[in-house]
Structures are given as structure tokens and as C-alpha cells.
């Protein structure tokens, strides 16, 4: 019988909004988890995240409202372009 992890857990998420100080509001894909605030640490490829980008977020079990973006997932530009298109309308 498996147990729930006590330490950081990686979940898929989508960037919703870029906030100041390398902080992002992300939508967590696991049902019922909702949104979280996530920061990025280092990693130049993560410094230019845009709304719509697919990322992997590391969450701590004691505070699932906050996390750390650890990497991009798949092609980030697809979501970014779609988001730009949407914004320009």
C-alpha cells in the first residue's frame, strides 16, 4: 500500500501570469489542486516564461500553494505564441 510523499513532489502545471521577481502564477494540472505561486531559481531557459508555457513545478506537501518551477515541459513556444495571439485580440 503506497503512501503519500512527505517531500517535494513534481507536478505538471501551466503558467497563467508572470508576476514581478521571477514569480509566476501557475495552474496545476492535477485535478483539485488549483493554482499556486511558483518561483524560478537559476536556469536561463526558465527566465522568460510566458503565460501558456507548460512547466513542471515542485511542490512541498506542507504548502501546496507555493512551489518552484524546475523545468519546461515539451515545446514552450507553442503555448507562448497562442497566448500572444490571444493577448493581441
Amino acid at each position: 500500500m503506497p503512501e503519500t510523499p512527505r517531500d517535494a513532489m513534481e507536478v505538471n502545471a501551466t503558467v497563467r501570469e508572470a508576476l514581478p521577481n521571477a514569480l509566476y502564477r501557475v495552474e496545476l494540472e492535477s485535478d483539485g489542486r488549483g493554482q499556486a505561486l511558483a518561483h524560478v531559481s537559476g536556469g536561463s531557459s526558465l527566465l522568460r516564461l510566458l503565460p501558456g508555457d507548460a512547466v513542471v513545478v515542485e511542490l512541498m506537501p506542507y504548502d501546496q500553494g507555493r512551489g518552484r518551477i524546475v523545468r519546461r515541459r515539451g515545446s514552450g513556444t507553442v503555448g507562448a505564441l497562442a497566448a500572444k495571439e490571444r493577448d493581441s485580440k
Binding site: 500500500m1 503506497p2 503512501e3 503519500t4 510523499p5 512527505r6 517531500d7 513532489m9 513534481e10 507536478v11 505538471n12 494540472e29 492535477s30 485535478d31 483539485g32
Partner: protein, 261 residues
Amino acid sequence: MSVQKSWAELQKMHRACGIVVDTLVALEEAAVPGVATKELDRIARERIERAGARPAFLGYRGYPATLCISVNEEVVHGIPGQRKLREGDIVGLDLGCVVDGFFGDAARTVAVGKISDEARRLMKATEEALHSGIAVCRPGMRVGDIGHAVQQHAEAQGYSVVREFVGHGIGTSLHEEPQVPNYGPPGRRERLVPGMCLAIEPMVNAGGPEVRVLKDGWTAVTADQSLSAHFELSVAITRHGPWILSEPYPYAAAETEARHA
């Protein structure tokens, strides 16, 4: 750090794990179209008690049954009930028992009647992922190497591994240190030492890794409703490599008394 078991304690683990796997074999035969999941739970409890053990899950954090039965898109922790198995279902059976103070824990996903090739492929990949995790269980390796091996194997076949549940150390309690995730980078987490006992249990989804828990507070299902499979074995780390505790000690008998640590 997990408790290192003595040779005598490993023998007790061996007994508990043997009872669990013998019961799973009987349950696999009993999992035919039309049987209620509750009936499988009854068989599990009866066999465990007849073997002189007692169910490990019953009452654990309020869990109401002996067996976890997770059908198709259910990942783990399905509660037995009136639901009847149907031809083509794949059914995760997760069972634990305690005897003489030591716990055994194992799981397997079984086919009900004839199943699709897709389901069979998922089950095969999950069982292989478990064994690729077991293969790295040697002193000097780390817990992260297990998860890495499992994840590599599952993802190479286009599947995903569940993050929300992890394997665990096992011994005088059902869940001991350390936790054993089925994912993550190699070379991290606790070092494996002889006498450590781990329940390694990949949960592999045909679709995405996301899961959610139903309103009963237990049953976990895949968020995208894709099929999920679950295989688990309890394994001891010995000086010579892994010992799957439900099987006979695999190394030369002369070495069985080897003291660890």
C-alpha cells in the same frame, strides 16, 4: 534512515511476504467476470487469517478492508464493495499482512478474462519497471537510483509514473523510512545498506501522471481516466544484492548467515 534488519528478522519478513504473495496468487485465480470485489476481500482476509497472520491494511488510518482493489482507471486504494468485475477489466490487488510483528506488502495487477493488447502491454511494462527498480537494490546504490530506473523504464514505453504516491520502507510497521518514489534523478536520497527492507511499487498510467482522489477519501483514479497498473514487491537489501522477500533467499546457502552492517 531505515532500520537494518537482522537475519532472524529477515526470516520473519520472508514469512509475512510469502503469505501475502500466496494470497495474491489465489486472488488472481478468483478474479473472474461477475465476482464482486467484496468477495475477493473476503477471500483475502480468510486466507491471511488461516495462515496465522492478520490483515495489515484493515483499520490502517481508517482503511475499511483487507485488500485494495483498483479497477481500470483506478490507480490505488480502491475499496472493495458491490462492484462486479467484468470481462476485460484490469484489477490492481494490493495486500498486506502482519505476522509475528513483521509486515509483508505486495501488489499486482491482474486480467479479468480476456483483456485488450493495450492493457496487457501496460501491465507488462509496469511489472518490468518494478523489476528494473529491484535490480539496482545493492549496497552502495541510493533510493533515487530505484525511482530513476522505474521511471526510465515506464517512460521509455510512452507511459507515465504517478507522483502522488510512493513506495516505502517496511518492517515492524507497514510504512517505515525511507520513502521510495518511482521517479526522480539517480544518485540522490538515502544510501542502500544491507538489512534495509523496501516496498517498491510503481504505479504506471497509460496517459498522464495526474491522479485525483474520489470522495470516499481513498480511491485514487487517473485524472484523464486512462488505465493504470500497479505492481509491488517487498525487497531486502543484502550484501549480495536484492532479495525479493516473497521468494526463497536467492544466494548461496553458505552465505545466508552473513552478518550485515
